[in-house]
């Protein structure tokens, strides 16, 4: 846990230092989103939800780390910041790296969203959730995976940072809805069949379901809002018939 908190602090320092080196003025709202995301992740990792036996507290932490923090991180556009703050040769290397096939797969919503959902099903559907309860190092890995796969899925759907071959808005909206459906069904399954050795599974499952709905609604609204103001959509709407 100490290692995770140190990582979060390092991420805050790196982002703020990058905004100083950024070659153009960097919006304060994006820095605020990054720091708020880190705060959400820190509460999740260090708060009472880190205990695995109480599903209600655990799900609150899970929502903060796997859904709320990733949306805030995506809104902070860290890749854009890195491209503008790194020295030009390093920025070019990063941009080349983002165009490689593995990077393209990882940020494709049709890959990133199913991977995120499959990770959740593995964690709660198999005995993994109970198995990591007494192994702090393994639990930390699970937390890190939750945060990273949540970030990749949200980044793929919202596409705030530049991405080569961005999927059309309808595909990204469908991927988001599919991920939400997998999340909802899993919440209902957890309600019906709580993992062994846990308490508060019913409240936890309802929190997962309702909280997941709220975050997905916000994400969908952000996605469509970004489409509505995008250059392509505005041009299509104002082109003469």
């Amino acid at each position: 846990m100490t290692v995770l908190l140190a990582l979060l602090l390092a991420a805050a320092a790196a982002y703020v230092a990058a905004t100083w080196r950024c070659r153009s003025p960097w919006p304060l709202a994006r820095s605020a989103a990054w720091l708020a995301g880190l705060a959400a992740a820190a509460v999740a990792v260090a708060g009472p939800g880190a205990a695995h036996a109480d599903m209600h507290a655990h799900m609150a932490a899970h929502l903060l780390l796997g859904m709320v923090a990733p949306v805030l991180f995506v809104l902070a556009a860290p890749v854009t910041l890195a491209l503008r703050a790194l020295p030009p040769p390093a920025a070019r290397r990063l941009s080349r790296l983002l165009r490689t096939a593995p990077a393209r797969w990882a940020t494709d919503p049709l890959v990133a969203v199913p991977v995120n959902a499959a990770g959740l099903w593995l964690l709660y559907g198999t005995g993994l959730h109970t198995a990591v309860a007494h192994r702090p190092a393994l639990a930390a890995l699970v937390w890190l995976h939750l945060l990273l796969s949540g970030y990749l899925a949200t980044a793929a759907v919202l596409a705030v940072d530049p991405a080569p071959h961005r999927r059309p808005v309808a595909v990204r909206a469908l991927a988001l809805a599919g991920g939400a459906a997998a999340h909802d069904v899993l919440a209902k399954v957890l309600y019906a069949h709580p993992p062994a050795g846990t308490v508060g599974a019913e409240e936890g499952a309802r929190l997962m379901y309702d909280g997941g709905t709220v975050v997905t609604l916000v994400t969908a609204a952000l996605l469509w809002r970004r489409w509505y103001v995008s250059r392509e959509a505005v041009r299509a709407a104002t082109q003469p018939a």
Binding site: A170, A173, L176, A177, G178, A180, A181, A182, H183, D184, V185, L186, A187, K188, V189, Y191, A192, A205, R206, Y209, T213, T216, L217, A220, A221, W224, R225, W227, Y228, A233, A236, A237, T238, Q239, P240, A241
Partner: protein, 155 residues
């Protein structure tokens, strides 16, 4: 200033927008009124098994995603100038009616996934579920048919 008038939304996009927002609104009303306010519907009724869990979760995610997408497409259609209201409302009512009918007949009766309410005689509730659904669907289809004979206003 643009020197030409904007291009109206294609008919198909208006249809999609109305259908999505109609189904999404019906789903949202179901969720808010009967799940959250009245507690008639159960989160999980312990009788419906795996099919009920999957169907409820899928339908929930699909309806609220549809509502957001429908609103965005509606906003886009509105900013394009002339708006064929009869066509859009026809699609919207068709979507809402189809959702309500599917919930009342398909989910409740054919698949028996869940019921309107528990521990009461269901006949009245089922009629109150299916009839408005059929009425909405009929009104929507009538509006859609009428909007066909009145083409989208061109500029």
């Amino acid at each position: 200033m643009a020197d030409a008038l904007p291009r109206p939304a294609p008919r198909r996009r208006l249809l999609v927008s109305g259908l999505l927002l109609g189904a999404g609104t019906a789903g949202a009303i179901d969720e808010i009124v009967f799940h959250q306010l009245l507690h008639w519907h159960h989160f999980y009724d312990r009788a419906s098994g795996a099919a009920g869990l999957v169907s409820d979760g899928l339908l929930h995610a699909a309806t609220f995603s549809a509502a957001v997408a429908g609103m965005a497409l509606l906003a886009d259609a509105r900013r394009r100038g002339p708006f064929p209201a009869a066509l859009w409302w026809g699609a919207m009512l068709t979507g809402a009616g189809a959702f309500q009918l599917w919930d009342g007949l398909g989910n409740h009766k054919l698949l028996r996934l869940h019921q309107v309410r528990y521990g009461v005689d269901l006949t009245g509730y089922d009629v109150a579920w299916v009839l408005p659904g059929a009425a909405l669907l009929l009104a929507g289809v009538v509006l859609l048919v009428r909007s066909r004979s009145r083409p989208v206003p061109r500029t």
